[in-house]
Symmetry: C2
Subunit: 354 residues, 2 copies
């Protein structure tokens, strides 16, 4: 199959630092190549890929030191280039929300659009209503909730290559928190849970400028002077395996409708169970009592973190490989592409199964 992958241009593919969407596109693209498909990636020149690369910008926008640049213009140029070459592909897979809709109206039936973000934004319904011909993919069923009546073609959970995170058969006796420091990620809950258990918590987190105040006012006072809580700062991809693999459990105490939550499957890849609050995609991603525990209150979370060592870390890793490998993700997308490819797409029924 001749497949085009069209990610956003904000981060490199894969990202050098933060950046979920570009990371997933990178894993998907390489897995499709490994499954024998003819894949073309449209991206900035700093991409590393097993696919053919069509370069549409010299570098990713957020890495570009140029002071004056336009992310809208960069994406419009990319999409014009994709359209110019559209006949070269059987399927064009967009990860660009909606910006491509006016470009591909005459061939919407051979496109797939994965929505990577939260969908409870005021202006979105209007756009998805106006372009119902585009088959949309959600990254969890829960993500669809605010746009339940749109043209959903399926849900495909994220996957990752199985070789970047190492399985750790034994933990080193601490709890872990990994992500951004921000109110909806609830690092305060993670700290409270660790303190009630009297167990060490390591926090590896980025503090964005927008969250600096929250960090100083709310989180730092909870950390300072408490030997149980260690703030590690932001860590790179090469440190994640050790950090997550050493933990008894990853605490994922979120308080917002997380569309997917990559860090959950990163922990699972290391064999580390996840104690996660029942928000957003959590009930779809975590198998309660197998890959972690799904909790609703701080009391349940404390109890679950205590029991985390009772779970079989080998089984956690197996579940990751089975459900959340890049190959598993690629196969699910291929099923979807195949349905699109049917003659005239007449028998392709949108399933609004939310």
């Amino acid at each position: 199959m001749r497949i085009a992958q069209v990610p956003p241009l904000y981060e490199a593919v894969p990202p050098r630092f933060y950046g979920g969407t570009e990371r997933v596109v990178s894993h998907l693209t390489d897995a499709l190549v490994e499954l024998g498909h003819d894949v073309t990636l449209f991206a900035s020149a700093d991409a590393r890929t097993k696919a053919k690369l069509v370069t549409v910008r010299d570098q990713a926008i957020r890495l570009d030191p140029a002071e004056l640049k336009s992310d809208l213009a960069a994406h419009m140029s990319m999409l014009a280039e994709v359209r110019r070459r559209a006949d070269d592909f059987d399927v064009i897979h967009f990860h660009t929300d909606m910006i491509h809709f006016p470009f591909f109206e005459d061939m919407a039936g051979k496109t797939v659009t994965t929505l990577h973000g939260r969908l409870d934004l005021k202006d979105l319904q209007g756009v998805y209503d106006r372009w119902p011909q585009y088959p949309l993919v959600s990254i969890s069923d829960d993500q669809r909730r605010p746009l339940a009546t749109t043209s959903w073609a399926g849900t495909v959970h994220h996957g990752m290559t199985t070789d970047i995170y190492e399985f750790h058969a034994k933990s080193e006796g601490y709890l872990a928190f990994l992500g951004r420091i921000s109110p909806e990620k609830r690092p305060d809950r993670a700290i409270a849970i660790a303190k009630r258990l009297g167990k060490k918590l390591k926090i590896a987190a980025k503090v964005d400028a927008a969250d600096q105040r929250y960090f100083q006012d709310k989180i730092e006072p909870l950390i300072l002077g408490d030997p149980l809580i260690e703030f590690v700062g932001e860590i790179g991809d090469d440190q994640k395996s050790e950090f997550l693999g050493g933990a008894e459990a990853l605490l994922f105490p979120i308080d917002w409708p997380e569309p997917f939550g990559l860090v959950m499957i990163e922990a699972m890849a290391c064999g580390t169970p996840v104690v996660a609050y029942a928000c957003g995609s959590v009930p779809e991603v975590i198998e309660d009592g197998v890959t972690g525990f799904i909790v609703r209150t701080d009391e349940e979370a404390v109890e679950a973190a205590r029991r985390a060592t009772s779970l079989d870390r080998r089984k956690v890793r197996q579940q990751f490989e089975l459900k959340y490998s890049a190959t598993a993700m690629a196969r699910r997308y291929l099923d979807l592409y195949a349905r699109l490819g049917a003659p005239l797409s007449q028998d392709f029924a949108f399933a609004a199964n939310a």
Copy 2:
């Protein structure tokens, strides 16, 4: 003529506060109606207009207290609506940079696109090169410089209704600075000029969050304890006439390629001459020795501010009415529309006169 006006959705039309583009579109739209044309304005419901209003959002994006909204989605919905009604118009006039390009390719010849911003952004050339069929209008000749080879159809300077600013025959003996406090607007230069002259300077300016630090570190120390310098803060439209009209001269000591600079013609409307640095549109907008002085150094600026009282304030106002009234602007656009309207647009030659 049946004319559609399509402004951005960030501010109300006209803006309640800051917002140059929406202000100019408001003046243009009303002036076209007064000249007898059938004008439709696409805008949020808070617009006040003499034209027919097609409401495309409940309120302007920046005034909307909703936390989660998408400016891209809002604009895409608006553009889809404009396209749905496109046959109702002889001319569709966009003020939305480039976002409409993929929507109107089959009718680009009956569109006009006014570019309101600076054009020295890294990604712009690529987009304007890919859609050469769209006739573009610059708001000054200087603005074109970074994109000299694009499809320019003309330059139309901004205009304003002549009744919102009152002519002031006599000044009250102070210099004025009006705008945002930011490094490229050079309030520090204005302060230095006033101090060297020993003349009072009133600064009416907004301090954006992004410029708070610059204000505190660089500007406040120059103001504090100096009785010559009065910081008035941000003023509303209803205060501008008195503020500008009372000044001997408006200081416009900019240090960046200002595409137009509305405040210059606001001052002229009050009869107040402008002492402006030769950047961006300044040499096109100010007639040296008539509506103000064009300067290149602080020494020249001091000398010019001293001589400002020698200019005929009545003549300054007359020049404003002649060149920068909303009616003058509307007539220039009508000339442009008429050229577009010629059969098949075959005789419409793009003038790349930059």
